[in-house]
Amino acid sequence: MTNIILDIDNLVVSLGKNPSGQRIIDGVSLQVREGETLCVVGESGSGKSVTSLTVMGLLQKGALVPTGGSVKLVGEELLIATERRLRQLRATRMAMIFQEPMTALNPVVPVGRQIDEVLRAHTDLDARARRQKILAMMEHVRLPDVERIFASYPHRLSGGQRQRIMIAMALVLEPKLLIADEPTTALDVTTQKQILTLIRDLQRDHGTAVLFITHDMGVVAEIADRVAVMRHGRLVETGTLDTILRTPTMEYTRNLLSSVPSLVPRAPRAETDEPVVLEANELGKVYRERSFFGKAREVAAAKDVTLTLRKGRTLGIVGESGSGKSTVARCIVRLIDPTSGGVRLAGREISDLSRRLLQPHRKKIQIIFQDPYRSLNPRVTVGETIAEGPINYGMPRAEALAKARELLELVDLPADAVSRYPHQFSGGQRQRIAIARALALDPDVLVADEAVSALDVSVQAQVLELLDEIQKRLGIALLFITHDLRVAAQICDDVAVMQHGRIVEQGPAAQVLTHPQQAYTKALLDAAPGRGWDFANFRPVEVAAD
């Protein structure tokens, strides 16, 4: 039996100092052994991040307080440790990497110096030795051109490079425990795969114990030795990776796994000869950066994008960040103006219409955005938000509000939600409101720009189901922008894969996602985490294929 590095026993974290206050973490026990990866999975609000911050002693002072249980790091109790002792332990015995490499690094300090701070705080090495050690560590996490990156500011680096810097910073003093809080969630799949491999390799070389927090079952399947499922601050169940994925005992775990969309595309729907409602012809968008003296710099965000969408069908645009998929969506809806090419909506060219002439066509195409927490005006009631569009197009107010009620029922929300404000709803409910708002104008085309990406899997599954049902009922055409191939596989009839502003491959989802022709599509599919598992059926994919 290997050494237990982290031993959390019956941990209770309460809101405020009062032990009888609301319990955010309620009796959680976890153990992580040397060289082992324990994945803590759960949906938002399950308490997985609070658990990790408790271990690091980084809970917000006074707001969240550990009121019971114990947390032992290599036998040393952390809950009673002084602030000074905790500071000593951080980076030397336990280290942490975070979700957002974009914001986790100080933007005004070169990254080399940020790593250097760790060494200055915890070692007596001189400047030369520190620099040597940092450069070696940076090479170890497979950063290229380390001398240049050492002196670079974070904004000069890519997301993957920043996360490598975070990992270098966390592991430079070879801590016993690495806590990784959703370290790959903000990264593209191909980068995610590299980072997961890196963490795996470093762990193998150094015997680090890893507490890996994630909401993504795919990532769990890639990296975990053991899995702990959390919900509402309690532990649902723990077990080895195989046990949890194959024979979960708890209902919640089974539901969680069943909600994970499969990478195997759904059964294709019959081709239709319904009219084409949306066409993009060689659509292009070039951004020009004007400069006072120098030559203007041009960036082609989208180039020669040609798409066709028929009534009642779903076309997915998939690609990594910066591939131009959102630019295309925004050009099609004319939120931004394309620089070349055309967009035909129900047979009418709209790419060159003036704002005023575009007005009557706007209602035919509506868009749902990614973040339901920011896309609804917090000071306007849900009813007003939904009714605003129809009122703009001349519908009497009372009629528009009545329609808002109907639409809310259509998206499975109570009709009395009209008089409430967005903050009174959960993320999934807000996305339903956003869908109702988009439907209020009876559009022919609905554009969903990463519309389910910010949602937990179980909520995601419900919203996808809702979109599917609405499509069947109203015959709407759906343009679905996503980075998530699993989601694309479950909702799209056709898929267009984008890279660097161009479409690299396009065709029926069943074909593109199972027999990709282009190297990039293959790489994307290959990088999709947990591609070997058919989560919903609790078995590996190879078996499912038989």
């Binding site: 000593q88 280290a95 933007p107 760790v118 200055r120």
Partner: protein, 313 residues
């Protein structure tokens, strides 16, 4: 960087041009005869004619403008109508007290306010925070002259530590200069401490919630290191903006303080000129104030690029 500086200085030229045009038109477009305005109510026709010829008021407007601008660029700001002294001489006599007080006030205010703001944000929600914020409200709400007279009463009259009022040039020795400048500096600092401390606290509170501050803590570096190296530098941009505009305000006019301490600064020069309708002086003061604001804004923008590597022009 140098290119950016050059571009910004070039961009300031049209701004100053517009101000100059406005200043020029100020007199010419005021209803009535400019000469009559300048000469006052009891002028004789001969005096009016003399003013018209000296100022070239009989020439076409554009010729007048270019003649005026030409003189301006050579440093000829005209002559005061009241004292007959060249305006440039009047300003140069008055500028030392103003700049001295502005500089010492802003330095004192920064030294006091930034630490106060940092501590208030760090101890957010505690009595320290509430105390600093309370102090800031007092600083904002007590009128400058009340603070001024209070300080005079205590330190000049009762304790006799410093002279009641007046100004000595620094060329006459640091002691006498310092004695006379310390009370007005403290008086003015009050409101600036309030302003800067409040701004620093707000900016620090924003920054302390950022992910990179959490990262810094996770590294196990000391709390001072977290506050000063990671948080304060990121919080500096809005604070610098307030300090910069505050400084410009200080140079161009602290009339009340100048009056209370009987300081011969440019604030009082401006007010006197306005009351006496001494147009050449008023025009010069508007130009000077604009120049100060343009320069300070330029310095603020430069400070941004130094503080935040993401800002590049």
């Amino acid at each position: 960087m140098l290119g950016y500086l050059l571009r910004r200085i070039l961009a300031a030229i049209p701004v100053m041009g517009v101000v100059a045009l406005f200043v020029f038109l100020l007199l010419r477009l005021t209803p009535g005869d400019p000469a009559a305005i300048l000469a006052g109510d009891n002028a004789t026709p001969e005096q009016l004619e003399r003013i018209r010829t000296t100022l070239g008021l009989n020439e076409p407007l554009y010729t007048q403008f270019f003649t005026w601008i030409g003189k301006l660029l050579q440093g000829d700001l005209g002559t005061s109508l009241i004292s007959n002294v060249p305006v440039l001489t009047m300003i140069s006599r008055r500028i030392e007290p103003s700049i001295s007080i502005a500089l010492s006030t802003i330095v004192l205010a920064i030294l006091v306010a930034v630490p106060l703001g940092v501590i208030a944000a760090w101890k957010h929600g505690t009595w320290i925070d509430r105390f600093v914020m309370g102090l800031s409200v007092v600083g904002f709400s007590v009128p400058v002259f009340v603070i001024g007279y209070l300080l005079i009463q205590i330190f000049a009259i009762d304790l006799r530590w410093v002279p009641v009022q007046g100004f000595r040039s620094i060329t006459a020795g640091f002691g006498p200069f310092f004695e006379r400048i310390i009370l007005p500096t403290c008086t003015l600092s009050f409101i600036y401490v309030a302003l800067i401390a409040r701004m620093t606290r707000a900016a620090m509170l924003d920054v302390l919630g950022e992910d990179y501050v959490r990262t810094a803590r996770a590294k196990g570096i000391s709390e001072t290191g977290v506050l000063l190296h990671h948080a304060l530098r990121n919080a500096a941009v809005p604070v610098i903006t307030v300090i910069g505009t505050g400084f410009a305000l200080l140079i161009s006019g602290v009339v009340v303080t100048e009056s209370v301490f009987n300081l011969p600064g440019i604030g009082r020069l401006t007010v006197d000129a306005v009351l006496a309708r001494d147009y050449p002086v008023i025009q010069a003061m508007i130009l000077l104030t604009s120049l100060i604001y343009v320069t300070v804004n330029l310095l603020i923008d430069l400070a941004y690029t130094l503080l935040d590597p993401r800002i590049r022009y």
